[in-house]
Amino acid sequence: MAVYAHSPHADLPPPKSTVGVVGWLKKNLFSTPVNSALTIVALTFLCWTIPRLIEWALINADWLGTTREDCSREGACWVFVAVRIKQFLFGFYPGSEYWRVVLSFSLVGFLVAWLLIEKTPRKGFVAFLTIFVYPVIAYILFYGGAFGLPVVETHRWGGLMLTLILATIGMFCALPIGIILALGRRSSMPIAKSVSIVFIEFWRGVPLITVLFMSSVMLPIFIPEEVNIDKLLRAIIGIIFFESAYMAEVVRGGLQAIPRGQYEAAEALGLSYWKTMLFIILPQALKLVIPGIVNTFNALFMDTTLVLIIGLFDFLAVMQSAFADPKWLGFSVEGYVFVALIYWIACFSMSRYSQYLERKLHTGH
């Protein structure tokens, strides 16, 4: 047996080479020879491309003007985008009615921000407004036909506005429907279970292009002529069903990860099936699959571009039609870069928010 003399040891700072900039570089970029080589290759590549990109997009770019003669310099000509920006944003929506679109999007932006930002009061009431009142207001604003607002037919909707409408409605509907389908698929009731399975497997089995094509070409053949369902509405329904099938499988993955003990504890406390799901199971399951949900949302956002094959002019389609303008031939690079930038900003914001949400909801288990 030995007894070690114990004298208090002063706290020492950690070794220099493990902290600070040098420590960070050493640990993350130059930890092994292979790692160092990769770092150097990557740096060279970045040094070679980034300055050129900046030069093209910013330094040598043309910003002001109205015609293609204003595109004199070497770099990008953003005049092309600037001149047609209204069309890119609003499609063929009449110029005098733009305020309706702006108002509608501002409203939903405000409501959603209210719900997403922490510590805003009366979230329940705002959620009620967003889910039940806002859609009516939005419909009246976009379509018109009430309160003296002139009707704007859906074939005049287009551009980023149409993309956002498709994506927003798609997300708002696909998540709840997906949750219901996932619960149905795991339910012990044979009818609910088989209906969910058939629905999910059907929609997962067909490509979205086919769905959209069927909705625009085949459906009118089968339903009587008097029933005239709007083309946009048909596309939206197609997107919702398609995406909710994917959402259902994402949510089901989360449901499967919840231990049986959680159900049992809830049951033993006397909670009903729906209350158990609402308060115990879904909050945990959805938290687990936030990355999957956001992934599906991102995919949905991109997938909306496919509506161009049934003749709806979404953001990308409007841009492509602008390339055909004889006055502006040869500016497709600028166009695509602009489109890519907008899509990237939207999707990147979504994933940042999801990361924030994951951190916030982490309760140490």
């Binding site: 049951e267 006397g270 909670l271 309760t363």
Partner: protein, 254 residues
């Protein structure tokens, strides 16, 4: 542990009655002709080798498991497929699990308030007051704002007990409440259970904690292969087991 208060009189009111209960998992006959009467205020310990059906037995009492033959009557309600009856029984029975089964996304206080608010329809303020009272009783009220993941096992199990008590049950079921705990935490949970027993709660407890059994139990049931083999007053049970199987089992756990 506090000393057992012996002056207690067992009432003749039957809280739980099982008559000829059988249960199968598929082809596997897990409970065989179980007959049992639990009186108000009685503390019953159930023990037996692993896989003998102890958990299944007590889980049948609040219908977490369905039995196929015989009758289970809790507080005058016969358990069958009638959902209202099941609901009524579950409001009357609290259950504590080996793995605690706290809701990890809710704070300790929210864990305790959820059922009172959504099942008993109590106003939130009242539910919180009750929850704090019971958390106080299991000496964990100062942790009310924490999440279960931030507590030790013993603390979690005490929260789980408080959560059950918030529904003011008249019967408590414990399924090996201390088996998942480190030795130094077992005592803090058993102390809470002893207090509960001394207050006259009707308790059925699956456990192999002999000291606890001797302190609180009125009866010890020994199960093997789905049957109740032996039943006795705790001191007699542990000191003079009657059947060979009981002797074998006790020699293994001691």
């Amino acid at each position: 542990m506090t000393e057992r208060q012996d002056a207690k009189q067992i009432s003749t009111e039957v809280m739980v009655e099982l008559r000829g209960v059988h249960k199968w998992y598929g082809d596997f006959h897990v409970l065989k002709d179980i007959n049992l009467k639990v009186f108000k205020g009685e503390r019953i310990i159930i023990c037996g080798p692993s896989g003998c059906g102890k958990s299944t037995l007590i889980r049948c009492m609040n219908r977490l498991e369905e039995h196929q033959r015989g009758d289970i009557i809790v507080n005058g309600v016969t358990l069958d497929n009638d959902l209202k009856g099941i609901d009524q029984v579950r409001r009357n029975i609290g259950m504590v699990f080996q793995q605690f089964n706290l809701f990890p996304h809710l704070t300790v206080l929210e864990n305790c308030c959820l059922a009172p608010i959504w099942v008993q329809k109590k106003p939130r303020r009242e539910a919180e007051a009750i929850a704090l009272k019971y958390l106080e009783r299991v000496q964990i009220a100062n942790q009310a704002a924490k999440f279960p993941g931030q507590l030790s096992g013993g603390q979690q199990q005490r929260v789980a007990i408080a959560r059950s008590l918030c529904m003011s049950p008249s019967i408590m079921l414990f399924d090996e409440p201390t088996s998942a705990l480190d030795p130094e935490m077992i005592k803090e949970v058993l102390d809470v259970m002893v207090d509960l027993a001394n207050e006259g709660m009707t308790m059925l407890c699956v456990t192999h904690e002999m000291g606890f059994a001797k302190t609180v139990a009125d009866r010890v049931l020994f199960m093997d292969a789905g049957e109740i083999i032996e039943e006795n007053e705790p001191h007699a049970f542990f000191d003079n087991p009657l059947s060979e199987r009981t002797k074998l089992f006790l020699s293994q756990i001691l």
